[in-house]
């Protein structure tokens, strides 16, 4: 039994804290349907993130509200939806990257392997070591290609076999063949797509537990975008991946589960919220919520 199962009994289904009977939790997502009605075809998958009633404020402005979801391990979960519905805010809340915004406030709980990410004694640097992120615009360091990938492992003290680690990461990002002869050259000499793959290599070089990708292909041309997508397939299984994307075809091709974020206008001002979260085929094939259906069919021709 893995340590996770030891701690939580059956893989991830039992709540880590007793749910007060008065509170009705609107839980969406495929993992919620399991339980007593164990008529599922696939084996139970443990969850890495357990997000409970999360809402986010930037000062007085509410950016996200009422999000409940579980993110499964070793799968790709896509977050789709129109702009301004809180997808980016949500994904950045998963690795404490929103901390740098001074007016940021999160209510609710984000549990990572059962631990509250926002508890007082949590070290956010440790959080980011375990939960990596690739950003929308490629942001390579002004260093050589090799040093870009080797920088974080060096910090972590993983100096042994550094060159092999760099090669493994570059291979994993499908960049090795293109750069193996110029590892010492500057990272800024690479094309946009290559730079983004370099950022992915950088992130996987320290072997994180989770990889968060915030619209990784939106700043790239279609060919570079395709290469990123191929990468997703090969990375799946090695990491838990959460990817925000505007490209629904991409989500449909790549993701195991898809979560649709939309605006909830009830109660005055529209606020971003999670509307539906399920297996990808269900979201794109026969979505339950009419808002999901509108969004998904509107884009698909």
């Amino acid at each position: 039994m893995s340590s996770v199962e030891q701690q939580f009994g059956q893989a991830g289904f039992e709540p880590t804290a007793p749910v007060p009977p008065s509170r009705v939790r609107i839980q969406s997502g495929p993992l919620a349907e399991a339980g007593p009605s164990a008529g599922r075809r696939e084996p139970a998958v443990e969850s890495v993130f357990d997000v409970r009633e999360v809402s986010v404020h930037y000062g007085a402005k509410r950016a996200l509200q009422g999000v409940n979801m579980r993110i499964p391990r070793s799968r790709i979960t896509a977050l789709i939806g129109p702009s301004g519905c809180g997808k980016s805010t949500f994904i950045r809340s998963l690795n404490r990257m929103n901390d740098s915004v001074p007016s940021f406030r999160l209510d609710g709980e984000v549990l990572y392997h059962g631990h509250d990410l926002y508890a007082g004694n949590v070290d956010e640097v440790e959080v980011r070591r375990r939960i990596g992120m690739v950003f929308q615009k490629p942001n390579p360091f002004p260093k050589s290609i090799h040093d870009n990938v080797a920088w974080a492992p060096r910090n972590l003290g993983l100096r042994h076999g550094l060159d092999e680690r760099v090669e493994k990461a570059l291979r994993g990002a499908a960049l090795w063949d293109e750069v193996k002869d110029r590892l010492k050259s500057s990272a800024h000499g690479l094309s946009g797509g290559q730079q983004q793959r370099l950022c992915i290599a950088r992130a996987i070089a320290i072997e994180p537990d989770v990889l968060l990708l915030d619209e990784p292909a939106s700043a790239l041309d279609p060919i570079a975008t395709a290469s990123i997508e191929e990468l997703m397939h090969s990375l799946k299984g090695r990491f838990t991946i959460v990817i925000v994307t505007h490209n629904m075809q991409q989500a449909a091709r790549v993701a195991d589960e898809t979560a649709f974020f939309g605006l909830n206008a009830a109660g005055g001002e529209p606020v971003g919220t999670l509307i539906e979260h399920d297996h990808t085929e269900k979201i794109f094939g026969h979505p339950a919520d009419p808002r999901t259906r509108d969004y998904v069919s509107g884009r698909f021709g």
């Binding site: 942001n139 974080a152 950088r202």
Partner: protein, 332 residues
Amino acid sequence: MSTAASPAATGSVQPSRSRSAARRRSLDRFGDGLLRVVCAAAALTAVGILVLSAYQIFDHAGPAISKFGLGFLFSTEWLPNFGVFGAGVMLYGTLVSSFFALLLGAPIAIAIGLYLSLLAPKGIRGVISPMVEMLAAIPSVILGFWGILLLAPFVQKHVEPFLHNTLGFIPLFGPPQTTGASIFTASLVLTIMIIPIVASISRDLFLAVPRDVQDGASALGATRWEVVRGIVLPTTSSGVIAASLLGLGRALGEAIAVAQMIGAGEKINTSLFETGDTLAARIANQFPGAITGMHKASLYYCAAILLVIGLASNLCAQWIGRRFDYRRMVAR
């Protein structure tokens, strides 16, 4: 009532209008040309001042240059009554005090720049930044006066003995002298002068490092210091060096505060706690009272040397700053 503009009002038809219009146009052209010439003359004046000053100073140093040659730089004899002059003592004092101030001041200033750009919340930055810049606004004569009356006794009583006791095996830290006027105390005041210059420029350089690259580093589980050491400092290194050279230039050229604090020594002492002199301070001290031609010429020679050193440091700063920053390097 018709509001349509009459053809006359648009002005190009009637002959008398075109005459005055033509006069206006030629006046305008003349005015444009005149303004352009005047402005160009002003601009050239700026260059002219620098060129003329260098020429005049070297010209007046001529007699001393031809008599003493380059040996002037190394000779430590300065005897106005005998017509023997050498800038060795002052050259030594200038270089030692300025580099000491740079070695002490630049790291502190860079740390302040890091604090103001990356650590301080915006409100505090708005208060402390101006205060650091105010430090630069204190006139050097006041700083020197405060230095010799308040700082020097304190240093002489507490700091110099401590340093001598702990580091006395290094000849630099000899026994403290009686008055506290020394290269060491003068260097401390120079440090105070260098810090705001380097700190303000560094702060702006650090603020300009793109946020997304720093975020990328944080997202890899790096501590704040690692982001600074691995990203912020390497990116801004040439700008910071240029800023430090500007600070060095300030220290090299400072005459008044140093004259008040360094004790006008006549020989090169190995210990920092003894008196010394610098080129600028010697000029400030002796220029008004110089009588003989060779005395004056030697002081002009000192000024020429100072000019060269100061220009070299400043031009290096400009060159480094221009190569790697698009903003010009100027001390605030």
